[in-house]
């Protein structure tokens, strides 16, 4: 019980990070972006490339930090990967979504996002192959926190939870304490009114892609650190991330954080009552339950168009 709960919180922190980016993008651009989760893959793979590069250039930094399997090179790579992924999100918007946004409706955007997801996933497969990649081939052993009830936690997971919380806190400060944050929220609420008040819409769109891309890159690397990286990484997260976003309510950052933890914990706990073959249905069940009780999500407001 306690182990499932703790595992759920740890998985939930990664889902939350992904869901924050998605909820921001969905709120501002008003379409369900199914290619968003592929950004996790881009993040994870670009960190892998940077990690290998840095390890070759400055070998003494390729040392593990304390009990973590995270190396100094990888921690630098995370930041670089966040930048690269944010930039690729902006490029994707310029190449595909911006053009469609100007000429067609939201439904075309949704279909385009499916296409973009397929293309991204296959580019990753072409470049890196199907096989699973690892940041560190060594297996990081879990630490026994308590024997009865048995509770095992990996240092990496604690680090991931902490790092995710720090990132969320930073985002919170940016959104609530800076002019940028106010402009951002204004555009999401009402783009026309925000423009009248002197907010540059195009700049806000770029910034939300950078934010979303950066957060999802972090989520991708954190996932790769505690599990493994494969071209299907993004695809595997589509459902949990969407579930978290919908549960939390589209547009609500705090809802997305909570939604991520709810989905993570529920998937972990569901094993106690359901056979493991049925656990993938859990995110769907949560979506249905929330939609029935609160159609706009836990923290969501009705979108005014």
């Amino acid at each position: 019980m306690i182990q499932h709960l703790v595992d759920g919180i740890l998985t939930g922190s990664i889902i939350s990070l992904g869901a924050i980016g998605l909820t921001l993008i969905m709120h501002m651009l008003r379409f369900a972006n199914f290619s968003y989760a592929e950004l996790l893959g881009i993040g994870a793979y670009s960190a892998l490339v940077f990690d290998r590069l840095l390890a070759a250039l400055i070998p003494f930094m390729h040392e593990k930090i304390g009990p973590l399997s995270l190396t100094w090179t990888l921690s630098v790579s995370v930041v670089l990967a966040m930048v690269v992924t944010g930039a690729s999100a902006v490029v994707l918007d310029k190449l595909v979504f911006k053009r469609i946004r100007e000429n067609a409706g939201p439904l075309s955007m949704v279909f385009a996002s499916f296409g973009v997801a397929l293309i991204l996933r296959n580019i990753i497969t072409l470049a890196f192959g199907h096989r699973a990649q690892l940041y560190s081939p060594d297996i990081a052993f879990a630490i026994v926190v308590s024997f009865d009830p048995l509770l095992l936690i990996k240092p990496d997971q604690v680090f991931v939870l902490g790092a995710a919380l720090v990132l969320m806190l930073m985002l919170h400060v940016v959104l609530t304490r800076t002019t940028f944050g106010y402009s951002h929220r204004a555009v999401a609420e009402n783009p026309d009114l925000a423009q009248v008040s002197g907010v540059r819409l195009s700049r806000m769109v770029v910034s939300v892609w950078v934010l979303g891309g950066g957060l999802s890159a972090a989520a991708g690397v954190f996932y790769g650190l505690t599990n493994q990286i494969s071209p299907h990484l993004g695809h595997n997260f589509v459902l949990p991330v969407f579930a978290a976003t919908i549960v939390g309510g589209i547009g609500s950052v705090y809802g997305a954080v909570l939604g991520g933890f709810i989905v993570g914990i529920a998937s972990g706990l569901s094993l106690m009552i359901l056979p493991s073959g049925y656990t993938p249905a859990m995110p769907f069940l949560i979506i249905i339950a929330v939609m029935l009780l609160r159609p706009h999500g836990l923290f969501g407001e009705e979108l005014h168009r």
Binding site: A132, I139, F141, L152, Q228, P275, S276, T279
Partner: protein
């Protein structure tokens, strides 16, 4: 246009006459072959089958008739496979269908085409026990055979190994698909039969973000060993998680984990006690003869999956067709299969001379014991065959190494001992 038509007609007429002139006999028998020729591993299987048909023709043909093997692609797609089989039965009027490879294609062809139409079907490569169940329920009307052993062989030898190693408890992790569910439940039955307590059977789904919960659940059962019926993709994630949480490194795994990717990602330091299982072809003269003959014919050794099995499926079914006669129905051909695989019969080889001798004996009403690429094949009442097995591990240098060969008799004896 008219000119064209006339010349085509003339050519066709010429072809027919030429054909009649060179054919081994004055009649042809259509035989349906449904294999996935559009995938790289399916093509050699189809080519092997056509090669057998050529040899049978060279040896005099089925009951004096030239075999016309009509090959149709299944694309490993149940819908395409059923359409192909349907066309072969309805349009080409075949009484014998050879195919398919994947269980998911073989089953619908059997239940919706072969069995209802009374056509005999023989598959080279389908391993699911679902086919045994269909036969046991009477759904196959005794028309179905396969030359590929069921997953039960692997399950049996896994239990044999666990008993040998003295494990008292084991937990099973299986891939949540037809193959994994089948193998998982077979293994559970085999372990239980061998007196090993199965602590839990846990399904592992494809493409999950985390397997932590499943692994934690398995860990809570505190087994002495872990049985892995997984593919490398999820196997890597699960086993790494398992080891990181301090689980035992006593593993028994299926042939699907024969993978360098799996070894590298998990690491040799954790795989020292890993034992793998696999079914095998028998170490007999006829199996070696098949490899030599195949190499001579195709200028390459038979390296793909199911090639000796495909060879034997074609040879046995065509010899049975011969014994049943050119006008036989599917049921009549099926009834003659035991005559071709009679252990008491004269042993015959899988080559042109062997086929000619077999046809001679069969025509005289005498049984033969066909010795093919998979040895002396015998079918049980459900059309299933057994097979020898091997144990393998990741050797000192990490290469996949065979460590023990278990003969067909040993597998069968162990199976009988735990029933």
């Amino acid at each position: 246009m008219k000119n064209n038509l006339t010349s085509i007609a003339a050519l066709a007429a010429l072809a027919v006459t030429a054909h009649a002139g060179t054919a081994a006999a004055d009649c042809t028998l259509p035989v349906g072959v449904v294999y996935p020729t559009s995938v790289d591993w399916g093509k050699p299987i189809a080519e092997t089958t056509l090669w057998v048909a050529d040899m049978i023709n060279e040896a005099g043909g089925v009951d004096g008739c030239r075999v016309n093997a009509i090959l149709r692609d299944t694309q490993v797609d149940p819908r395409v496979g059923v359409d192909a089989a349907r066309a072969l039965v309805d349009l080409d009027r075949v009484q014998l269908l050879i195919g398919a490879v994947a269980s998911g294609v073989t089953i619908p062809i059997l239940t919706s085409v072969a069995a209802p139409s009374g056509v005999m079907q023989i598959s080279c490569c389908s391993s699911t026990t679902r086919l045994t169940e269909i036969a046991a329920e009477g759904g196959a009307n005794g028309l179905f055979f396969r030359t590929f052993a069921t997953s039960n062989v692997q399950a049996l030898v896994a239990a044999m190994k666990a008993q040998e190693a003295g494990y008292e408890t084991i937990t099973i992790l299986y891939k949540n698909d037809d193959w994994g569910q089948d193998l998982g439940s077979l293994a559970a039955a085999a372990f239980a039969g061998a007196g090993i307590e199965v602590k839990a059977q846990i399904a592992i789904n494809d493409d999950q973000p985390s397997y932590r919960a499943e692994v934690t659940q398995a860990l809570a059962t505190r087994p002495e060993a872990l049985y892995l019926a997984l593919y490398p993709k999820e196997g890597i994630a699960v086993v790494r998680e398992w080891i990181s949480l301090g689980g035992t490194t006593e593993f028994i795994g299926t042939n699907s984990l024969k993978s360098d990717e799996f070894r590298e990602a998990v690491g040799m330091q954790h795989l020292g006690n890993f034992i793998g299982t696999d079914s095998s072809t028998p170490r007999t003269g006829s199996a070696t003869a098949f490899v030599d003959a195949y190499t001579a014919h195709f200028n390459a050794p038979p390296s793909g999956p199911g090639l000796p099995n495909a060879f034997d499926a074609a040879a046995i079914s065509l010899l049975a067709y011969h014994a049943a006669g050119r006008d036989a129905t599917g049921a009549q051909i099926a009834a003659k299969v035991p005559m071709v695989t009679d252990p008491a019969g004269e042993p015959i080889d899988g080559d042109v001379a062997g086929f000619a001798r077999a046809m001679e004996l069969l025509s005289a009403g005498q049984p033969v014991s066909y010795q093919g690429g998979t040895g002396a094949v015998t079918f049980d009442q459900y059309g299933d065959v057994s097979a020898p097995a091997v144990f393998w591990n990741f050797g000192a240098d990490g290469a996949i190494t065979e460590i023990q060969y278990i003969t067909l008799e040993e597998v069968a004896a162990f199976g009988a001992s735990i029933e």
